[in-house]
């Protein structure tokens, strides 16, 4: 087994419940590399996740403390946890449903507050756990289980949303950019503030089967590769291309949320001691 998995993961939960060829495990491998290269230990990191493929397949794989929140609410729980345990690194690994649909409100406000967590939004462009319905990140026109005539709604990029909300580090990569992802995750973890890393990855069982017409793992990863490069395997232009790389880096430029509250407490208590009202000044 991969040495980093032996170092960081929970043996009883490996092999994961992910389907064969699923990008979730690949990305988790890169997360472990980033943690290892930064010298972080298992007890330094709290792993949080949600519901759905990304939630279910990653939950409890982490050997240290971890939580699987209700759908979309991982960031709300992380906000409370960060206040109580501010010295840990928080890796919040959620899917496109959790982050860009049901949990977008919490995503926006965590970014606005500049909560010191790193969100890895692993995006398979649909609700694959429930069989392959479309999500707010499904590309326009694609056929899915709930868009049999083609996706009618426009989609959006959660990177734009968190950037507008005030995130201090925003980046995007795909499942064919292993080195870039490791580097970007390291930078994201170094930001004492809200970091958002958006990683697109292939789903073979559902998105592959219904939107791309094949469950072939190689073809579906090629599809990701094509839309990362902007060119198909036979040299033509793709229907769209993802803009990858660091989109916004204002790392460590704004105070982190839990620190804002701690600093405020210090000021309030200093004033109280000044006035001599002691504790419990009711």
């Amino acid at each position: 087994m991969n040495k980093l998995a032996a170092k960081y993961l929970r043996p009883s939960q490996i092999p994961t419940k992910a389907c064969h060829g699923c990008g979730i495990g690949m990305i988790e491998n890169w997360l472990l590399q980033a943690l290892d290269e930064m010298g972080l230990k298992q007890e330094d990191v709290v792993f949080g996740t949600g519901i759905g493929c990304v939630g279910r397949q990653t939950f409890a794989t982490w050997g240290g403390d971890n939580f699987g929140a209700t759908h979309g609410r991982a960031l709300a729980v992380a906000t409370g946890l960060k206040i109580a345990q501010p010295d840990k690194k928080y890796l919040i690994v959620v899917g496109d449903g959790d982050a860009a649909a049901i949990g977008t409100s919490h995503l926006i406000h965590a970014a606005r507050r500049n909560l010191g967590v790193t969100v890895i939004c692993e995006d398979n462009m649909g609700y694959e756990s429930t069989g392959g319905q479309f999500s707010p990140t499904t590309p326009a026109g694609y056929v899915t289980n709930s868009s049999p005539y083609g996706m009618a709604e426009p989609s959006f990029d959660p990177c734009d949303v968190v950037k507008a909300a005030g995130a201090t580090f925003v980046a995007e990569t795909t499942a064919t950019q292993w080195h870039q992802t490791v580097k970007i995750v390291k930078k994201a973890l170094e930001n004492d503030g809200f970091s958002f890393v958006h990683v697109r990855f292939p789903c073979n069982e559902n998105f592959g089967a219904y939107a791309l017409g094949t469950r072939d793992t190689l073809k579906n990863l090629e599809w990701i590769w094509e839309h990362t490069q902007g060119r198909t395997v036979d040299g033509k232009e793709t229907d769209f291309t993802w803009e990858t790389g660091i989109k916004h880096d204002a790392s460590n430029s704004r105070p982190e949320f839990s620190k804002i509250l701690r600093d405020m407490n210090e000021r309030v208590r200093a004033k109280m001691t000044e006035k001599g009202s002691g504790d419990g000044g009711h």
């Binding site: 991969n2 040495k3 092999p15 992910a18 064969h20 060829g21 495990g25 793992t217 190689l218 090629e222």
Partner: protein, 92 residues
């Protein structure tokens, strides 16, 4: 240019300096490692593993040039690639 190239072109590095280990009972037979490897280290087993997949196995460890692509692409934490004892490369 495809990700999984049919024409394999090995990077310029010496072969035979690397240990390659696959945990076959964790393999879900996605085929990524075999298809990304430029030097044909891997092959399919003919007998299924406990999960019910026909896993990958290390058929030609001596070919390995340490490019680490298989390690990076495996979705199931199966692969370990490390420098053999006493080699100058400290493992990328």
């Amino acid at each position: 240019m495809p990700l999984f190239k049919l024409e394999k072109k090995a990077p310029k590095a010496p072969a035979g300096l690397w240990d390659v280990v696959i945990s076959e009972d964790m393999c879900k037979a996605c085929g990524f490692c075999l298809n990304i490897c430029p030097v044909d280290v891997f092959a399919w087993r003919k007998v299924a593993n406990k999960l019910g997949w026909f896993p990958m196995y290390v058929a030609h460890e001596g070919n390995c040039v340490g490019c680490m692509l298989c390690y990076q692409i495996c979705p199931d934490f199966c692969i370990h690639v490390g420098a053999k004892e006493g080699q100058p490369v400290a493992g990328r």
